[in-house]
Symmetry: C2
DNA sequence: GCTGACTCTTGCATCGTTGCAGAGGTGTAT
DNA sequence: ATACACCTCTGCAACGATGCAAGAGTCAGC
C-alpha cells in the first residue's frame, strides 16, 4: 500500500537521497546522465512525493479551509465554487466544511484539537460566533471573514454594503409605485447582524422617499430558507392590509414567498412584486424569474483569497473591512410580463 | 506566528518532550502533580499540536477528498453535505474539490504531483475519466466511485439503479395516460454512460407497456443544466406532434424545461407533465413543484464513506457495485392542481 | 539487604522530506 | 605546479510529533 520513498528510489538508482530529491524538484544542477538514471528509477517505481512530509518540512500545506454554515444553500455553493477557482489560480486547494449553523461546531474549529492547524489559512463565514470569541481564541492561523458584519476591526472581513443593497432593492419596489412594501428576514437578535443591516437599508429607502414604515410588514425569520419565506408570506397575506410588494433578505426566502403567493392564487408581480438578494442561479429559472440584488461572488472570492494569501505570506496588512460591489438585477418578479396571463 | 512545540512546552515545564506528549494524549500514566504542571504550561503557552507532524508519524491524515464535477450543482452540493456529515461521524473531515467537468482536471488528480497523497482516501464522481485510465494510474490512495457506471469490477462503486429509476419515472407518466412521453438528457457518447442507462429505462417502460418509442422525442443534451433543459423543451414544442409529458434525466433539466413550458404558455401538468431525477430541494418550491425520482443521498453518502473507510483500514473487500435505493416522489408537475387556474 | 515488580519518566530513533554546508573531482588561470 | 573556481553530488540535521524500550525511583516481600 505505502509507496516508495526517496530512499527506495535512491537505493535503486544507486545515488543519494538528496540527488533524487533534486531531480524530483529540478533544484540543483544534476548531470544529464545521472538525471536520466534517476528519472528511470522514479518512473519504474512510480514514485509519488509524500506531501505530508514535504509540508512538515516547509511549514505550509498549500491548503486553505472554507467554512460555511450550509453547503447546500445555493449561495454558499456558488461562493464555494468561486473560492475554489480563485484559490486554484494561486496553487492552493480548498477544503470545504460546514457548521450546520451550529455554534458549537464553529467553536470546535477554533478549539485546541481543531484541524485548523492543518491549513495555511481559514475563510470563515460565521453564523453565531462573535468577534470577541474569535479573538479570544488566539488563533494561530490567518483568518478572513466572509459576509457577516462584526463590529470591530480585529479581523479582515469581506462583504457587500448590506445597507445599500437592501436600500437599492427597496427603492426599486418603491419606484414601481408600490406603497406597501414588506420585508422578510429580519433577525432582531445578536447573531443576526447582517439581517439587521438589511432592515436598516429597507428603512432608509422609505425615509428617503418620505414614507413611513408599517412595522407589521417587517417579518422576522429564524433562518434564510425557502420554507420560512413561504410561511412569512402566508402571514403577510393574512393581514388586513396585505403588502403589494416584498423585499426578501435572500433569494431562498424570496423563492419560498413566491411559492406561497402562487399557491394563494396571487399573481406576481401584478398583485405582489418580489425582490430577493444573492442572485443564485435558481432565480433565473423560477416562475416568474426573480429580481434580485447580485453580490459579485467572484469578486468576493477573489478578494478573500488574495487577502488571505497576503496574510499567509506575511504581508502584515492592517485588518480591514473590505466592501465588494453589488448590483440590482431586474427580472419578471417585479416588472415581468405575466406568464400564462392575458 | 508559529506556535509553541512540544519542545517549548517541555522546556517550560522542566520535563521531557515525551512526557508533554503523554499529557496531551493522555497516554502513559503520569503523576497528578506532574500532569498539573505540564497542563499549566500547555495552557499558558496555548499549545496546539502540529497535525502535519502527527500525520507524518502516523501515516494518516484523517481527511478524505470528495471530488465532484461542479459544486454549485444542487445535487452535488446536497450530496457533499451528506458526505461531510457521514465522514464526521467517523472523525474524518472532507475536502471538497470540483473538476468543472474538465477531463484534464480529473486526470491531474491522479497525476504525479497530485495532492491526493495527502488524503487517506478519495471519493470520486467521475465525469469523463474511464475506468481503464483510472486503473492504469496505479493509484496508491483508496478510491470509491460515485454515480457513474463504469463497466468493470476494478473499483468500488456506489450508485442507484439508473435503469430502474428511469423506468419508474417513465412508467409513472405512462400510467397517467400520457402517450407521447419525451426524454431529455440522453448522451449518446462514451462518457455519457449514466444518461444512456436512463435511456434504457425509458425504453423499457415503453416496451413493457407495449408502446413504441418515437425516436424524435429523445433529445440529447451536452450537460445537465437548466439552460439545456429549456432549449430541449423549446425544440420539443416546435415538433409537429409535441409531447404531452417529459422525463428529464435530472431535476435541473426538468426545471429548465418547466421554465420553457411556462414561457410558451403551456400548462403543467395539464398540457405537459414533467418528471425529473435527483430530488433537489429546489424542486419542492418550484412552480409547480416537481415530481422526481429521489435517490437516497444520505444512504449513498453513508455507504460511500463506510466503504472508503473500510478500504483505508485495510479490510480487503472485493471491489463491488453497490446499488442504493430510490423512490418516486409525486408532486404537482405530474398530478398537481393547476395553480392560478380555475 | 537484595530481588523483583511496579510506577513514572525519559532518550533515542523514526516518519519522508528539504536546507545547508561541504566533499570530491575536473578544468582554468597564474 | 599551485591555487582557485566551478560543477556535481552527498551526508547530516532538522521539521514536530509518536513508538519503543529502557532508566530511575519506590515499595513490598522474604
Amino acid at each position: 500500500m505505502a509507496g516508495p520513498t526517496l530512499r527506495d528510489v535512491a537505493r535503486r538508482a544507486n545515488v543519494s537521497i538528496r540527488t533524487v530529491s533534486n531531480v524530483v524538484n529540478g533544484y540543483a544542477p544534476v548531470s544529464a546522465e545521472l538525471r536520466a538514471r534517476v528519472q528511470a528509477a522514479l518512473d519504474e517505481m512510480d514514485y509519488r512525493p509524500n506531501l505530508i512530509a514535504r509540508n512538515l518540512k516547509q511549514g505550509r500545506t498549500g491548503m486553505i479551509a472554507l467554512v460555511v454554515p450550509e453547503l447546500d444553500v445555493p449561495y454558499f455553493a456558488e461562493l464555494a465554487r468561486e473560492v475554489i477557482t480563485a484559490a486554484r489560480a494561486h496553487g492552493y486547494v480548498v477544503m470545504v466544511d460546514q457548521t450546520d449553523g451550529d455554534g458549537e461546531r464553529e467553536r470546535e474549529l477554533l478549539g485546541r484539537d481543531s484541524r485548523a492547524t492543518m491549513f495555511d489559512g481559514l475563510l470563515l463565514s460565521p453564523l453565531t460566533i462573535s468577534a470577541e470569541e474569535l479573538r479570544s481564541r488566539g488563533n494561530r492561523v490567518p483568518i478572513v471573514l466572509l459576509g457577516e458584519h462584526l463590529f470591530n476591526g480585529s479581523f479582515h472581513h469581506i462583504a457587500i454594503d448590506n445597507v445599500a443593497a437592501a436600500r437599492d432593492a427597496t427603492e426599486h419596489l418603491l419606484s414601481l409605485g408600490r406603497r406597501r412594501v414588506a420585508a422578510i428576514g429580519d433577525q432582531p437578535y445578536s447573531t443576526g447582524q447582517t439581517a439587521q443591516l438589511r432592515t436598516v437599508g429597507y428603512r432608509q429607502a422609505h425615509t428617503r422617499a418620505g414614507l413611513d414604515v408599517d412595522e407589521r410588514l417587517i417579518v422576522p425569520t429564524a433562518n434564510f430558507h425557502r420554507r420560512l419565506g413561504a410561511e412569512a408570506m402566508q402571514h403577510l397575506l393574512a393581514l388586513p392590509e396585505p403588502p403589494d410588494a416584498v423585499f426578501c433578505y435572500n433569494d431562498l426566502l424570496a423563492l419560498g414567498a413566491m411559492r406561497a403567493l402562487t399557491r394563494a392564487g396571487r399573481h406576481i408581480p401584478d398583485d405582489v412584486a418580489v425582490v430577493g438578494l444573492d442572485d443564485i442561479e435558481e432565480g433565473q429559472y423560477s416562475t416568474p424569474s426573480l429580481t434580485t440584488v447580485a453580490p459579485h461572488k467572484a469578486e468576493i472570492a477573489r478578494t478573500a483569497v488574495d487577502t488571505l494569501l497576503g496574510l499567509i505570506n506575511g504581508s502584515a496588512v492592517q485588518p480591514a473591512e473590505i466592501v465588494t460591489s453589488h448590483r440590482l438585477v431586474v427580472r419578471e418578479s417585479t416588472v415581468g410580463e405575466a406568464p400564462g396571463r392575458p
